[in-house]
Structures are given as structure tokens and as C-alpha cells.
């Protein structure tokens, strides 16, 4: 059983290989390869992923699946793939022997072999991840996935999730989707529509047209529904959409009010959001089954951006009751809340990590925007990014990566999606067809 070492998640990300590479003739079994997130040296783990074998009818799928597995793993910044041109051995049979000496010679710590077969629209992918130095299979890393060919990328993501998870001890996050706002048009007449994509920007599908402004979509815990803010009725309204049927309806239509900033509770039964009346907003809870509305805050200031703790017992939100946006935590039953942010500047858009250990936020200070994380009591604040405008973080299902919106300045300013580790490493742009904003990560797919 491979377990992560006790991790401290300070400012640095480290790789600590449990392999003694200098031992020439190991007598004792060595520690299996693993990556531990914590202080220390940063060096991607060299791995080898020879193109998966075509075991019948696989055609391009074998090569494409191998490519996505490598892309997922290298995209974390934790792994470095050793290209096939450097390989000494070739894998010609999935169940054949492996010449481990050949993989040791190129310093591959992990070898991933796989095979793909296709019959009709059914595809089967199997793989093994080997600990090269011990010459055995990583425990639990020899699996087979089957499905339809149009889901081939998901199978690649599942393979990569298993490998990532076995080596880091963290949950996987590659087999996930991101709902976001696809943008077009000039800055003063921006068109916006909802879209979903794989976490890496592939497989985009559009959920609405761009006749009405749409903002800040969020997935339900099961990933089957989305709540967002839409101007479709002419006024901002929280709206619920079923992802499969694309049917949607405005929730809580009270004339003279604006509803916005919706988010599901962890059980998916209620939506927490802001309701504005006469310029003042408070946080409310709407029971999706009964329609019952519960007011959670009662303050003559801006209370918005609520987000549940994963156990459903607390809600983090922002308020400017002191005159400046700050982050507060209150019981899920409501109340005044306890302020947890304390540094200089303004704090908004808090989001509770799915693992419960951190709260991500947007910070504005001295003319710059930052994405940051802090402990749920406000301690250990750490800023991960800085730019003209970064905002609206969303957590990967494993609670170790964040995605957010970055917007450039000026008349030609455009939005784009970026991701960063909670360590502040591996900042990168997510490829999208055009400008994009307001990402929200789905849970890991089943």
C-alpha cells in the first residue's frame, strides 16, 4: 500500500523519491516510487510511457490515448516523460516480460505499458504501471477500462488518474469536466454563453446561446446540474440547468430583487446564493425540492459569494460590513459569522476546498489581483498568483489544483482560464477556443 508521507503544504512543492538510485544491487525491497508534496527539492519524476499496443482495431486510439496519459501526467509538473526515441526496449506484448534493465538504463522510475482494442463502438484500455527499480507492478496500478469509443479521452484520463494517485497519494483529477463562460465580442458588448470542457480544454460543448449574459456557473455535487446567474429574463436571476437535457429554469423570481452567486450544498438538495433588494444583499438558502427559502444573514452591507464546507456544516462568504470586502465563516444555519481574513487589501470569492483543509480566494491589494489560499481559520495565507486581474478560483476534485479567470488590461483586454497548484507552482493557461471566464470544476466523474 502506497501512502503519502505526512504532508505540510507550505510554500514549496517537493518531489521525494523513495528510490535509492545509488544502490547497485538492492538486497531489500526498496520504497516504491512516490512524490510527496511538501518542502524540498523540485525535480519531475522521469517516467516512460511507450505507445500503447494495438490489440485489435485500435487504430489511432492507442497512440492518442498514450498521448493524453502523458499530457495529463506531465501537465501536473510532477512527471517528465522520456520520449520513445530514447527507449532501448520496445514493448511488443502487454503480457510479455519487461526488460527492466533497459528502463533503468534510461533512468525511468516508472514504466507505464498499455494496450487498446476496439470492437464496433466498444473500446477496451488496459494498463500496468511498473516500479522499474523493484521490477514489479505498482499496487493497484494494473487495471482495465471499457466503454464506448467516443469516451476514449476519459479512459486515458482514468489511466493517468490511477498513476498520479498511486505515486502522489493524492486523489486524481484528470477525469473531470469544467463548466465556464465562453466569451466573444468587444469589451463593451461582450457576448457570453455557458460551455463545458474536459479539465484540459478538450471536448468543448456549448450549453446556451449568447442572447443573454450568463455568469459564474457551478456544478452540482453529482455533476448532473448547473446553477448560474442569467440575464435571460431581463434581470439577473439564479438559474438551474439539467446538463443532460439542457432544460433550465429561473429560481426564486421575486420582482424587484436580483439573485446571484449561487452554489450547491454538498448534498445537492439546496442552493445558497445572494438576494439583493433595494441595493442590499444577504445570503439565502433555497431548498430545491420544497422551494422553501431561508435567510442566513441580515446585514445592511454586501454579503455574497457563499460556499459550503464539504461536510455541509459551515458556509464561507464575503462581506463588506467593515467597509472593505473580507471573508467570514458562519454556521450553515446562518448568523453573523466570524471574520477569518486579516491581511491588507480586499478579500472576495472564497471557495472551500473539497478536502476541507483550505479556502481559496481572490485578493485585491495595491492595484493587483491575486489568487490565494488560507487555512479555514484564516491562518497560513499564501498568494499563488499576481496580475492585472485574477479572480474566481475553483478547486480541482482533489483539492490540490485551482483554476481561475485571468483578464488582461486595456481596450483589447481578454479573459482566459489558468490553473495553478496550491503550492503556487505549475501556473499555466488552459487552452480554449476563445476568451473564457468563470470556470467551475466538476467532481471526479464516476
Amino acid at each position: 500500500m502506497i501512502r503519502p508521507m505526512r504532508t505540510t503544504f507550505r510554500t514549496l512543492l517537493a518531489l521525494a523519491f523513495g528510490i535509492g538510485t545509488l544502490i547497485a544491487t538492492p538486497v531489500l525491497a526498496q520504497e516504491p516510487p512516490r512524490i510527496v508534496i511538501g518542502p524540498g527539492v523540485i525535480e519531475p519524476m522521469p517516467i516512460a510511457v511507450p505507445t500503447f499496443i494495438d490489440e485489435g482495431g485500435a487504430g489511432d486510439y492507442a497512440r492518442e490515448i498514450s498521448r493524453v496519459v502523458i499530457s495529463d501526467l506531465e501537465g501536473t509538473g510532477f512527471f517528465r516523460n522520456i520520449g520513445e526515441e530514447a527507449h532501448i526496449s520496445r514493448i511488443t506484448s502487454f503480457d510479455g516480460g519487461v526488460a527492466f534493465e533497459d528502463w533503468k538504463a534510461i533512468n525511468a522510475q516508472v514504466l507505464v505499458t498499455g494496450a487498446v482494442s476496439v470492437a464496433g463502438d466498444r473500446i477496451t484500455v488496459k494498463f500496468r504501471a511498473y516500479d522499474v527499480f523493484n521490477g514489479n507492478t505498482l499496487e493497484g496500478a494494473a487495471l482495465q477500462f471499457a466503454g464506448t469509443t467516443d469516451g476514449w479521452r476519459r479512459m486515458a484520463h482514468k489511466v493517468a488518474d490511477v498513476i498520479y494517485s498511486k505515486i502522489t497519494g493524492e486523489g486524481g483529477y484528470f477525469d473531470s469536466r469544467v463548466v465556464f463562460v465562453s466569451e466573444s465580442g468587444p469589451k463593451n458588448a461582450r457576448l457570453k454563453r455557458l460551455a463545458v470542457m474536459d479539465y484540459d480544454g478538450a471536448n468543448v460543448a456549448y450549453l446556451t446561446d449568447s442572447n443573454a449574459i450568463v455568469l459564474a456557473p457551478r456544478f452540482s455535487p453529482a455533476g448532473d446540474r448547473i446553477v448560474y446567474t442569467s440575464f435571460e429574463t431581463g434581470f439577473p436571476r439564479i438559474t438551474l440547468m439539467d446538463v443532460a437535457s439542457l432544460q433550465r429554469r429561473a429560481l426564486e423570481e421575486q420582482p424587484g430583487t436580483m439573485t446571484f452567486a449561487p452554489r450547491f450544498s454538498p448534498d445537492g438538495q439546496t442552493v445558497v446564493f445572494s438576494l439583493e433588494r433595494g441595493g442590499n444583499s444577504d445570503i439565502y438558502l433555497l431548498d430545491l425540492n420544497s422551494g422553501a427559502l431561508t435567510q442566513l444573514t441580515n446585514s445592511p452591507s454586501i454579503e455574497t459569494a457563499p460556499s459550503f464546507s464539504p461536510d455541509g456544516s459551515q458556509i464561507v462568504f464575503e462581506s463588506d460590513r467593515t467597509g472593505v470586502q473580507q471573508i467570514y465563516v458562519m454556521p450553515a444555519s446562518g448568523g453573523e459569522g466570524t471574520r477569518i481574513s486579516g491581511g491588507e487589501g480586499r478579500y472576495g470569492t472564497p471557495v472551500w476546498s473539497p478536502r476541507g483543509d483550505y479556502i481559496a480566494f481572490t485578493k485585491q491589494n495595491a492595484g493587483r489581483f491575486h489568487i490565494g489560499v488560507m487555512r479555514t481559520d484564516g491562518s497560513e495565507e499564501r498568494l499563488l498568483t499576481a496580475s492585472f486581474l485574477d479572480e474566481g478560483p475553483t478547486w480541482a476534485p482533489n483539492g490540490r489544483v485551482l483554476m481561475f479567470t485571468r483578464e488582461t488590461s486595456g481596450a483589447g483586454g481578454q479573459t482566459s482560464l489558468w490553473s495553478v497548484d496550491i503550492t503556487g507552482r505549475n501556473l499555466k493557461q488552459i487552452p480554449t477556443d476563445g476568451p473564457a471566464s468563470d470556470p467551475a470544476w466538476s467532481p471526479l466523474l464516476p
Binding site: 463593451n188 446561446d209 446567474t229 424587484g256 445572494s274 444583499s281 483586454g413
Partner: protein, 177 residues
């Protein structure tokens, strides 16, 4: 996966529906300068403004009475200049009872999305409350916030931000309520 097909179907359906719903942010709205109803950029067709020399026309209201007030950073408090504009708006609305108005609140781009939506709502509410205090029937006024979604000016400097922190009174005829 049929999601894409369903999306196309949905878009086709919405495309038909849109025939009843003129392009809300198309050619007319959000154009250069602040003349006419363009600065509002929110849900009002810009045709039928009338003759700006006719004191009962929308064009006269927009250009001569003044259709907007501006705000300081992060504020929704009315300035003396803003109060003067709104006093004229109230007088005009009371002498032209055939018009209703939607007050659109806006914020500049310096701020998070949800916060700015609320800030725009506060600005629109400040205008609405002032107009009501001057005698305009509440039933003729509605508010909407666009947050930072519809800037009038697009540069990322205070000169533009100052014009974007606004509340615009957008008239519609024949909707006296």
C-alpha cells in the same frame, strides 16, 4: 455522446425565439460616446428617441436633462452634481407620466464579479430612492445591475473607470404602470 447535438438543437430553438427578442446589445447599444441611450446598453431599443429639440422626447431627456450620474470608487453615494441631474430627471418624469424607467447600475472593472454586481445594484437603488423622494411614483421605476459586464469606456485607466461607475436612467415609452 449527444450533448453536442442537443446543444445545437437548443441553439436552434433559441435562435427562433430570438426573433421576438431584438438583439439587446447589438448595433444600437454600446456604441461610441455617451449620446442617446447607448450608454445604458441594457435592454432598450434605441429607435424612437424622438427629436432632441422636443422636450418630451427621450432624446431630450438623455441629452438635455441628463440620463446618468457618476460615482466615486466603491461608492454609491450621490454627489451634488448627481443630485442636480436626478432632480431634473424627477421633474421631467413627473411632467411626462407616459414614461417608465429602468435604472441601470454599473461598476468599473476593478473588483470581483459578484461584488460589482452588488455595487451596481446599490448605485441603481440610490438613484431610484432619490427619484422616489422627489415624487416619482415607485411603480414607474425598476432597477437592474450589470456589475462590470457592460463598461461604456474600455480603457483600463481612471479616465475610463470614472465614466463606467454610473447609473443610467433608461426610459421606455407607454409603460406608465
Amino acid at each position: 455522446m449527444s450533448l453536442a447535438a442537443k446543444s445545437l438543437l437548443l441553439i436552434a430553438v433559441l435562435g427562433l425565439a430570438a426573433c421576438n427578442n431584438p438583439d439587446r446589445y447589438g448595433a444600437g447599444a454600446g456604441g461610441a460616446g455617451g449620446a442617446g441611450g447607448a450608454g445604458g446598453a441594457g435592454g432598450i431599443d434605441t429607435t424612437g428617441l424622438g427629436d432632441p429639440n422636443n422636450p418630451t422626447s427621450i432624446a431630450y431627456f438623455n441629452q438635455t436633462v441628463g440620463d446618468r450620474v457618476l460615482f466615486a470608487v466603491d461608492q454609491s453615494t450621490l454627489s451634488p452634481e448627481g443630485r442636480a441631474v436626478l432632480t431634473r430627471q424627477a421633474q421631467w418624469l413627473m411632467t411626462n407620466p407616459g414614461y417608465a424607467a429602468i435604472i441601470e447600475g454599473h461598476a468599473d472593472e476593478q473588483g470581483t464579479r459578484e461584488y460589482n454586481l452588488n455595487l451596481g445594484a446599490k448605485r441603481a437603488a440610490a438613484v431610484q430612492n432619490f427619484l422616489i423622494s422627489q415624487g416619482v411614483p415607485a411603480g414607474r421605476l425598476r432597477t437592474i445591475s450589470y456589475g462590470k459586464e457592460r463598461p461604456l469606456e474600455v480603457c483600463s485607466e481612471e479616465a475610463c473607470y470614472a465614466k463606467n461607475r454610473r447609473a443610467v436612467t433608461v426610459l421606455s415609452a407607454g409603460a406608465g404602470v
